[in-house]
Amino acid sequence: MTNTLLILILLGLMALAYHLGVRRSQKLVGGPGGVRGLHSLPSYYGFFTALWCGLPALIMLLLWVSLQGSVIRDLIVSDLPEAVRNLPEARLGLVINDIQNLAQGNIVSGEVSPEMAQAAEHYKSLLRTSYAASFVVILSLAIAGLSLGWRLISPQFRARNRVESVLKWLLIGCSTIAIFTTLGIVLSVLFESIRFFGQIPITEFLFGLEWSPQMAIREDQVGSSGAFGVIPLFVGTLLIALIAMLVAVPIGLMSAIYLSEYAGSHFRAYAKPLLEILAGIPTVVYGFFAALTVAPFIRDNGELLGLDVSSESALAAGLVMGIMIIPFISSLSDDVINAVPQTMRDASLGIGATHSETVKKVILPAALPGIVGGILLAVSRAIGETMIVVMAAGLSANLTVNPLQSVTTVTVQIVTLLVGDQEFDSPKTLAAFALGLLLFLVTLILNVVALRVVRKYREAYE
């Protein structure tokens, strides 16, 4: 961990630089008493020097670390024998991996040829050189920066403004991370998806009725044709989301109405946080509950009624997902119901309506856009929910709307395609990214629509 050491040394140098900056600024105006003659407080001169010392060096370090790997790799490859250099990209990667493992003293796949041993030695020496060079370059950069910053200090020098503008750029940088994240998501799923659609036509993906992503790896393999039709997955996802909504919307909405319109403050103070516990439980716990408690319960009771229930039925996953979403719906509806002006309630009660008539005929219509927005957000969550369905729903892509049968969902397929060993170029792996793109787009559209609806509604009463 030479880099850790380097960073520690840099931090030490920055502390030294701060101290030197403060001392010099005070000395220039004749001791701590003369601070009045400075443009900025002494500490800003300290920060200024420390920034000059640390920033260029840290940027250099970052560049070094990110480039070091590929530069060394290229150097190693150019030294390998002709026959190895002309190997396909993937095999070459394996060779390089072996060389690196050899250099680090790890286990190597296959035999060690003299060329490889030599290459490993070369690799080690290159790495050592690189580290030594980075030490020298970065530390001299830090010291150069320190002395430059130190020299720039003068009583009229506007150190505070400089430090503050650096700080501001740092803040701006942090705030753009959200954009980079979105960009990263879009690009990473988009690129892989485009490669996928190069192998499987997009129409087959969107409108195909069959999903069985096993591709034949060898020519003579049987029984793995590979079909990438997303319709069964989508029907399964929507079926489970629908069941979840059938559970969550009535219970969530009614409990929000009861808690905000009927319940006494005492009952509300206890019931509301207790209900919100449901929102804090990790989804893997719901998945466990669905797979080991609810699913056997439904199967056994279904058998009593003479129904043929699959042990991984959509019903179990949907029910438990519904429970998970109850607090989501109830707290969103609660907010919207409380935002309906009291005057509307008073007017309705004043002309003789009962409380429930007020709720049904006045409050709910007024709150409807907000509630619909909340439900849309909840649907988007249900579609993107992963752990419950991975643990409680099945893997077989049945095109069915029977809630007692096993269905599979988009998220389940992403997990099964990507967990475990995979080769990165097969359509099987790429399909997961295409599914991810689909999932991202669908939830994005739902979220945008929901946020629009909610915002539009809010303007009406404020």
Partner: protein, 432 residues
Amino acid sequence: MSKSEQQQARTIDRVNTTLAQRYGRERRFRRFGFFAVVLGLAFVGVMFLSIIGKGYSAFQQTRILLDIEFTESVIDPSGERDPAVLSSANYSALIKNSLRALYPEVKDRKEKRELYGIVSNGAALILRAKVMADPTLLGSQAQLWLPADDDIDMLVKGYIDRTVVQSERRVKDNVIAWIEKLESEQKIGKFFNTTFLTGGDSREPELAGIGGAVMGSLYTLIVTLLLSFPIGVAAAVYLEEFAPRNRWTDLVEVNINNLAAVPSIVFGLLGLAVFINFFGLPRSAPLVGGMVLTLMTLPTIIIASRAALKAVPPSIREAALGVGASKMQTVFHHVLPLSMPGMLTGTIIGMAQALGETAPLLMIGMVAFIVDIPGSAMDPATVLPVQIFLWADSPERAFLEKTSAAIMVLLGFLIVMNVLAVILRKRFERRW
């Protein structure tokens, strides 16, 4: 009767005829609402009860009292106390000897194998650790409580019905007879299960523990906290205090709101494509897990921090600016300290979210079977929720109990974090 009086009587009559019905509807509506709340609360109760009911027994471990003779001729025939010899010696032979002495009537080979099976495979490792720590034990005799096999554990805890036909239960009649003999001699008992809390993962349920997963979660959360708190606060400060109203900041805000609702598995895809395949960071490492969870929790922290900044009244800012502080000094010396409790509350809630998250970590390979307890953020590791997911898939009955107990530990951590957030809010939040 005048015409207007007639009209009035008719209206009130009409109201009266339907009044009972309307009141009935009112009562039904009210009851329906109450029922919904009770149903929601019942779900909470059922879930907690079912998990605690399944999991509490995992905190106990069945052990068997055996007379172990540390026979020198078995462990160290040369008598040189060479650590390499001591480490590779056949300690299970000691256990087998002791069991044979306990049940001299067992002669059949198949039966013998069943007899040896009542003690866990891990018992030999315990003996080895004892001898390695203190070689003078060799040649002596000791009575030791050694862990039983998971099937025996289940039997003693009462999860296996002894009255069922032999072919339908995992433990055979002769084994039950041996255990009953041990029970009558009080040589089998239940002890607090330290292995479960400190051990790494294992294929043997009686040796499996959550120690490795807890350490993995800890490293992951530390990375997440170190990255997401400074970045989140900085982003919130910029957006709330400095950003001009323009299209760029609008774009940033829309992005943050949308990211808050993107399914977590998509962040896993991002981590796989960018951090692992593009930057070549190691798979299964808490470092990568922490980075993915950072991106996921950032929106939560930014939104909470902005709310906390908004809650600081403008008078504070105006006063600071009035005595000559710069904009930056106003924010960092006055506004930020005042909004810190709110920001910390938001951060703790974000961390609780990150602690319970599973799906994105599956994508970046934190599902591997890892026995060793990770020692740094670069070691392969798994986290508590993923461990729960892995155990939930295991067929052994004993893992059901372990899974529930691991869930109890996870929920315990979450409750502590949330209570901390509530206390922080109650104690330090100021109403202006």
